[in-house]
Assembly symmetry: C2
Homo-oligomer: 360 residues x 2
């Protein structure tokens, strides 16, 4: 029951393959061939679980594979840790014909993608996302980045992988808190794009938390499809792609203020989606009953629906003004208009935003 | 006698304007308009000379301009200095609609270009190259990068500017050694692409060193044209663009071994071109008399034609094997086949290369 789909981006199109056991299948390493060189980038949590099987498969294919193991956590998604990847590549040295494999969650995917975009001005890379969050979100769409102390994902590139390989077996070793964090992005797709999928989630959220393989495979595929459609129409986020940021402007403020890694990305996005819904309520473009339905689903997914108690409403704004959607100093927010629909809204008053945050 | 030309790269096409006094003309700041924001990136040598006139012009146009002044020199073309540009941008903060202006030589151009490519995954930038080297070389073609301790320009992106503005008045304040360094790249264009231009240089090299404006304007325009043609046909260096690297594989080894900044880039390229010519002689594809003609022109331009005395031939190879043209561990060299013609050659034996270096 392997699922396969394409992200359509002209000459930068690439396949996404979803199934259990993929890391141990030689076809997963397409388009690599014998005698090519590869650098597997992973972290100290994932390495003991999956690095040896991946290296063994690469070795069986006659590929010259090296690996670099980074510390685990959002706080290490920095320029200086990125530099250790470049050092590993140059020590061998790997040439412009090398391929990077991102074996890990969103942090590894984002960093490896930016390393691939920048090493010798661009080499190939393959995404092997190991968390639900990275499988449904960061592995699709070509956004790569590292954080800066003054803002999340502020340094990066739009750079597409050669292929994305999603092995469902990885989710068995994922901590429940990380699974919930991934479900926040899953729920986001329902809210901004697909009411039927939101309803499906209301029916299947328990099955997903139980790691029911059939439910997971459908869910991941549907999220990838929804994201791929948006990205195909707007690769560089000039328009509708911004909708994917629902909850993120608030969420990034939480992550930055609390110190990267303390709140998981999905947890911050979950609270941020409720704040966005409350903001839309203030503007009269979303109803309180829909917000309650969103809150119920988030809670069932094991997610927070309020910001951190330590943060006052005023703590959010300086971070939010560094959001990449800010244009000419004006805040732009993604706000839901219905379940399954959202808009990018300019000119929302700071007092409206503060009132909405205070409610959460 | 303003000269204007286009680099043709589809939707990434951009104009190059060449004349004296351009920094003080409002048209030079196209496509910026009032109320937009700009970050001028420059260095401590250039800032006292040209930063105030540029900021004054931007201010007169109603543009919100900030500036960041970096230390001067190739040894500061690093990820950590780049990070100070991101910090300056985020402290304000500048949004995704900002524009970076690179006001300086090749180091400032390469770093500012990479900062523009990476800041919030890409913002506009304008090149205002102040050295002959950057005017004829690094400002055209979209190669941006920083160095790594293990190799030059190893971290970067292909990223095109919005416009290039070349103010000939800058050359009056350029140290003669820097002017000669630029002439190395000028001579390179003649050797690889245009015999008539090589002959013109033999006639006009003294006028160029005297800063004759008419000669300079013609020379810079011709180099930009030659480079633009190559880049338009091969933006990402899959083919003929590699010819522009004549002398660079040897030259980068000199720069890296001697410590960045001790040998100027053009000085290393000049010695490297002679080494490439000697290598081609060893292979029987270039004649010693043509090498002598090249040496004569380089000497008249005030350039070295031998490598550093401290470097043995064996010191070169480890650096050369990290060259971005290396494929599957095999050295590929750009070698002249005639004055005005060159080729990319694979499979040149290390002993041949060592013999050629020993001759220089």
């Amino acid at each position: 029951m392997m699922q396969k789909m394409m992200v359509s981006l002209g000459e930068r199109s690439y396949p996404i393959t979803i199934a259990a056991g993929l890391f141990s299948e030689s076809a997963s390493y397409w388009p690599l061939t014998a005698h090519q060189s590869v650098m597997v980038v992973t972290n100290e949590t994932i390495a003991p679980l999956y690095l040896q099987p991946v290296l063994a498969q690469l070795s069986a294919l006659g590929i010259n594979a090296d690996s670099v193991v980074l510390p685990d956590g959002e706080q290490y998604k920095s320029l200086s840790v990125l530099d250790t990847v470049f050092t590993a590549l140059l020590e061998k040295p790997h040439g412009r014909d090398t391929t990077l494999i991102a074996l890990g969650g969103g942090v590894i995917g984002d960093m490896t993608g930016f390393a691939a975009a920048s090493y010798q001005r661009g080499v190939r890379f393959i995404q092997m996302p190991t968390t639900l969050l990275s499988q449904v979100d960061s592995s699709v769409g070509g956004k790569t980045a590292v954080n800066h102390p003054l803002g999340k994902n502020m340094i990066g590139a739009f750079y597409q992988p050669t292929s994305v390989v999603i092995d469902l077996d990885c989710l068995a070793t994922l901590p429940p808190r990380e699974l919930s964090s991934g479900l926040a992005e899953v729920i986001k797709y329902g809210v901004i794009l697909d009411y039927a999928f939101f309803e499906w989630l209301e029916e299947n959220i328990d099955a997903l938390r139980r790691l029911d393989q059939k439910a997971l495979a459908y869910c991941i595929r549907r999220c990838c499809e929804l994201k791929a459609e948006i990205v195909a129409a707007d690769e560089r986020e000039q328009g509708n792609r911004a909708l994917l940021n629902l909850g993120h402007t608030f969420g990034h403020a939480i992550e930055a203020h609390m110190g990267y890694g303390n709140w998981l990305h999905g947890e911050a996005v979950a609270a941020g989606m409720v704040m966005a819904a409350r903001t839309a309520e203030q503007l009269g473009t979303f109803s309180a009953s829909l917000t309650e339905r969103l809150i119920t689903l988030l809670l069932r997914a094991g997610l927070p629906v309020n910001g951190p108690q330590q943060m006052s409403a005023e703590d959010y704004l300086p971070h939010m003004m560094r959001d990449k959607k800010v244009l000419s100093g004006e805040l732009r927010l993604v706000l839901p208009t219905d379940l399954g629909k959202a808009e990018v809204r300019s000119g929302v008053g700071h007092d409206t935003v503060l009132a909405a945050i205070t409610k959460c």
